[in-house]
């Protein structure tokens, strides 16, 4: 219960501290709320928590997810068909918090559903529901003013991305604007499980680390297997897995649990 007050940026910092003390990166699964149904997505999140997730990236469905590959496109389409909306996502998170889920939760949403809700209203409501931060894939730091003020007011994270195409100048910009952590894209492309991660990934991560210092770096896009986790663990503070888990969930709770456990346990192993 002593965790219940430390929300937002403080909860996220505490999550990274714990993982760091254990000498491993934090495991942040992505899951789209409403897929394959509102109830089943809550179950999936409970399953991921039981498998040792350190925090969550909860997907808000959007009709035009231009940064997503086929797996998450299809899942969010189903979530929309099942009636998932921003208010329902927040209500679901409230339910999870009431059940005692304490891990940090970040909303992953495109700009437009948040704008439609009203930015200040959304951030206040999300904060009240137990959300700790926002990840907005179509919001580069140059466009973030509208969100940044309200996030700061509520002590919430606002996560920006870095891509292999980002110049050193942009790395500096994102490091300076970082609130919570930096979402580092492992590749140029959309979300989706990949067999291999790019060979020059550690060079890119090194380039980012030089400027990021102790700002946590969380790697995402493409990660699907324990081997991926082992290879990146020395370079990052956390990692995000989305499409691979969504696919596993389609095969049932057991396969979701099993994959999540394997990804989580890979964080302990030496490479």
């Amino acid at each position: 219960m002593n965790h219940s007050k430390a929300r937002g940026l403080r909860a996220i910092a505490a999550m990274f501290d714990l993982a760091r003390q254990a000498g491993r990166p934090a495991f942040l699964p992505f899951f789209p709320m409403g897929y394959p149904s509102p109830e089943a997505s809550l179950d999936a999140i409970r399953t991921l928590a039981a498998a040792g997730a350190d925090g969550f990236e909860i997907g808000v469905p959007f009709s035009d997810p231009l940064a997503d590959g086929p797996t998450i496109q299809a899942a969010t389409q189903i979530a929309l068909e099942k009636g998932m909306t921003v208010p329902k996502v927040l209500a679901s998170i409230k339910t999870l918090r009431a059940e005692g889920l304490t891990q940090p939760i970040l909303l992953f949403s495109y700009v437009n559903p948040l704008l439609a809700y009203g930015i200040d209203e959304l951030i206040a409501a999300a904060n009240a529901a137990g959300v700790d931060g926002l990840i907005i894939p179509d919001l580069p730091p140059e466009e973030a003013d509208l969100f940044a003020g309200a996030c700061d007011e509520h002590g919430m994270a606002l996560v920006f991305f870095l891509a292999p195409t980002s110049s050193d100048e942009r790395v500096r910009l994102v490091v300076n604007q970082a609130r919570g952590f930096i979402y580092v894209l492992s590749l140029t492309g959309v979300t989706g499980a990949r067999r291999d991660l790019p060979p020059d990934l550690s060079d890119f991560l090194g380039r980012v680390r030089v400027q990021a210092g102790s700002t946590p770096l969380v790697l995402g896009f493409g990660i699907s297997q324990p081997e991926h986790v082992r290879s990146i663990a020395p370079h990052v503070d956390g990692f995000i897995v989305g499409s691979a888990l969504v696919k596993a969930a389609a095969a049932g709770t057991d396969s979701l649990h099993e994959l999540a456990l394997r990804l989580r346990h890979a964080t302990y192993e030496e490479s």
């Binding site: 959007f62 921003v86 437009n112 704008l115 439609a116 809700y117 140059e142 991305f161 891509a163 959309v190």
Partner: protein, 410 residues
């Protein structure tokens, strides 16, 4: 034709600002991966526009390949039939490939070449931008891949064949409503993946900065020519300029040169589909119940959406106007009341399609027919001394299947 007055270009370049904003509209809402690519594009574009060699090469191709300047035709029989204002047609249907889209496609393809990007991708709705892109790519020796919704592929079949003949790969898009919006999503996904060696040749005054500005500038040749031509032919400027508005490229291309001319009213025509009350339309400005400012595909503008910010499916008989958002500069022109916007329904457009064919011997594109439909409404209300200039954005050959079915021709 006399040389256009170059000061016109300069007169109205106060927007966008350096961040790509037209008042509160525009901007650059894209994944981080694309921001460096957009920076690179903007820098290359500004350098090209300041480079007399690039300008000369573009002007040469516009003249020797596209066939510019396109004429302004006085529509004598249509004017007499309507019994009011005198009607002039800016004949973009006579540009090579049959629509204004070639103006932008050639400009961007030249830029791609200059930037050393061999692989070009494009989206298309009506197929006119796809054909224009495939044409420019063939001319300049670039590899061209065009994303097109499968619904649009079915209703604009001739253009699918044209693109293939021109050596482009046409990639069907099966997601969402399978129309223009979904083709843009797929193009952005391709670009985000292949960003290092790919040029995204966007077809309308849409998307993230610098596209709305760049497309406007490449299309502004329409208005720059027309303004001078009508001065030469009629001795004065028109009272009213009319153009259809899908993403808004032909309209902004016509309007841009007239912006500082206070006596010239500017009127854009959106797709009213089956009527505003039906909810089945693409009238982003006309239906506040389902259209509000929002962010779609990289830019802030009016967006047709539900309460939860989900983008709505649109309907228009013309594939080129069937889109849930509209170029940010039009939102700005409307907000500042420099331009007005109205609608024409599917039925209005079909009637105009027939009338222009019968009275002037010009079969317009269905998109263009929306602009002509507004001329039919406006001209009778105006005195005989009044002058209307309408952008005849494209020819209608691509639409014969649709029209034959809708009108029950045999």
């Amino acid at each position: 034709m006399t040389t256009p007055d170059p000061t016109i270009r300069v007169a109205s370049t106060d927007v966008p600002d350096e961040r790509g904003y037209f008042g509160p509209f525009g901007g650059r809402f894209v994944p981080e991966t694309l921001v460096p690519a957009l920076d690179e594009l903007e820098a290359a574009y500004r350098a090209a526009m300041a480079d007399p060699t690039f300008q000369a090469e573009l002007a040469h191709l516009q003249h020797s390949y596209t066939g510019r300047p396109t004429p302004v035709s006085y529509a004598k029989r249509l004017s007499e039939h309507l019994g009011g204002a005198q009607i002039y047609l800016k004949r973009e249907d006579l540009a090579h490939t049959g629509a204004h889209k070639i103006n932008n496609a050639l400009g961007q393809a030249l830029l791609a070449k200059r930037m050393g990007k061999q692989r070009v991708i494009a989206e298309t709705g009506a197929g006119q931008h796809g054909v224009a892109s495939a044409t420019a790519a063939a001319l300049l020796g670039l590899d061209c891949h065009v994303y097109m919704g499968s619904v649009d592929m079915a209703r604009q079949r001739p253009n699918v064949f044209r693109m293939k003949l021109l050596g482009a790969e046409v990639i069907p898009v099966e997601s969402g409503s399978k129309t223009l919006k979904d083709a843009i999503n797929e193009s952005i996904r391709d670009w985000v993946t292949n960003v290092r060696d790919t040029f995204y040749l966007l077809g309308s005054a849409l998307g993230p900065h610098p596209y709305p500005m760049m497309v406007r500038d490449f299309q502004s040749v329409i208005g720059i020519e027309a303004r001078q031509q009508i001065l030469d032919q009629a001795g004065r400027l028109p009272d009213l300029c009319i153009a259809c508005v899908g993403g808004g490229s032909n309209a902004i291309g016509l309007f841009h040169a007239f912006r500082a001319d206070e006596g010239v009213a500017l009127l854009g025509v959106e797709a009213g589909g089956r009527g505003i009350d039906s909810g089945e339309h693409a009238a982003r400005f006309a239906d506040p119940t389902i259209s509000r400012p929002g962010v779609l595909q990289g830019t802030r503008s009016y967006v047709m959406q539900n309460e939860d910010g989900q983008i709505l499916n649109t309907h228009s008989i013309s594939a080129g106007l069937d889109y849930a958002s509209v170029g940010p500069e039009h939102a700005y022109l409307r907000q500042t009341e420099r331009a007005g916007y109205t609608i024409a329904t599917d039925d209005d457009a079909l009637a105009a399609f027939r009338l222009l064919s019968e009275l002037e011997g010009i079969i317009p594109a269905l998109e263009t027919a929306h602009a002509v439909a507004e001329v039919i409404k406006q001209a009778p209300k105006l005195p005989k001394e009044a002058m209307i200039l309408v952008n005849l954005s494209g020819r209608g050959d691509k639409d014969l299947d649709t029209v034959i079915e809708a009108l029950g021709f045999d």
